[in-house]
Amino acid sequence: MAEALDTVVAVETPEGILIELRPAGLVVRSYAFAVDWGIRLAVLYAVAMLTAFIGGVGLAVWLILLFACEWLYPIVFELKGSGATPGKRVFKLKVTMDNGLPVTPAASITRNLLRVADFLPFGFGFAIASMLMRKDYKRLGDIAAGTMVVHQQKPAGKPVLADVPPITPATALAPRTQAALIALAARAPFLTVERLDELAAIAAPVSGDARRSGRRVTHRVLGVAQWAMGRRE
């Protein structure tokens, strides 16, 4: 079978550690863009109401602010440490270099100046095409600067396991199998009883119940999951 489809990009650090980055695609980046756009619009509108009273100087101040909002707003926020504009932060996105390091000033300036190229031919046509066709969802500015926008959010929180007395497993368990058992126990409250029994039946050998299934087997498999979490009687 061909390699399973996924969105992750694997990056190797100088220490030889493989880390997985999850690039963010067109839709979620559009959300972030819309929020940023709204913020800029609100600021410009509010300032315009104030500067309207001081005539020509006010207009000059407002035009400088317009320039800053258009060109400096993303650069300032991306370099401020979090690597994300407010809109990106709302949707838990972050700008990084291709190798996962924090974005550098040169790269941030490049990717934001090239927003103009992404806007062509009209209304971000090139950016949309690029983000839909590339596996790492980069727009032109990202390609030029060697940056990537990645998801930061982890979907699963800390697992909460049902209170079942721990059972010592009948066989030795590989770490990956233990992780699968813990995941099963953590998901148990959200599954239907029948489905949970079905899944527990696959894992029944761990509690010495191979080729058996039912409510009691499920209970014992969940007990082994407790053991894998480190609980002992």
């Binding site: 996924d6 839709v27 031919p121 046509g125 949309i128 969802y137 979907p155």
Partner: protein
């Protein structure tokens, strides 16, 4: 069981990540998707072109109206691709009654009004059940992700608008000097032929290019939701560990 043949790596994903996975799925299956989609698009284009005889911009409405119907073909190909099956135009031809014709009326009326149709369409096409209705199941699938699906649909409307405007602007960039570009005539009773043609080409091209990604995004959200409801990722891991 179908989980074994799934060509997508299962792991817990947020709805937003699932959308990205859909784009990835559409990229990998693009040749088959666009080949079948093009075949289904031809009759719609024919009706749309015929309607320009009435009023110039009616083609837009016709194509828009047939979108849920076009989605079925795309979803058919994508769903087979997700389970590692290639699809040819011949496969589509043999399944055309189930995919295209049986729910035709339903697709053009009730489904046209859905605000998150690409999330729920897989329930109708892929789960054994009635071609229409099945509302309990829809509610179960929709639960907790309907907001994301709605936002995603709105965003794709915006993206489509951007792309169509971008394509339309090309006509403006490349028009010979002296061509009058009075945009107020665009949606008039009797727009110039030039506008009717530009309108038809840009909108049909925009829909043709973008619709597969929209359907794929919704389909990936659906897969993600089912994987979550039925713990597919855990099943895969357990089966791997206890295969012997």
């Amino acid at each position: 069981m179908l989980v074994d043949t799934l060509s997508v790596r299962l792991r817990p994903r947020t709805p937003n990540e699932a959308i990205d996975l859909g784009v990835r799925l559409c990229q990998s299956a693009a040749p088959a998707v666009y080949r079948c989609y093009f075949v289904a698009f031809i009759p719609v284009l024919a009706i749309a072109l015929a309607s320009t005889e009435l009023i110039g911009w009616y083609s837009t409405i016709v194509i828009w109206w047939f979108k849920p119907w076009l989605d079925r073909t795309i979803l058919f190909v994508l769903s087979r691709a997700a389970f590692g099956q290639p699809t040819s135009v011949g496969d589509l031809w043999r399944s055309q009654w189930r995919v295209c014709w049986r729910p035709l009326l339903f697709l053009l009326t009730v489904r046209r009004c859905s605000l998150w149709r690409s999330l729920t369409e897989p329930v109708y096409l892929l789960e054994d059940g009635p071609a229409i209705g099945s509302s309990d199941r829809i509610i179960q699938i929709r639960h907790r992700v309907v907001g994301s699906a709605f936002m995603m649909t709105q965003t794709f409307i915006g993206i489509e608008f951007s792309v169509v405007m971008g394509l339309f602007s090309l006509f403006w960039w490349f028009a010979p000097t002296g061509t009058s570009f009075d945009l107020s005539q665009l949606f008039s009773e009797d727009p110039p032929v030039f506008f009717a043609v530009a309108n038809f080409i840009t909108y049909s091209l925009g829909v043709f290019l973008l619709e597969p990604f929209y359907v794929a995004a919704g389909f990936a959200m659906y897969l993600n939701r089912r994987a979550e409801l039925e713990a597919w990722d855990i099943e895969q891991e357990l089966k791997r560990a206890f295969a012997a």
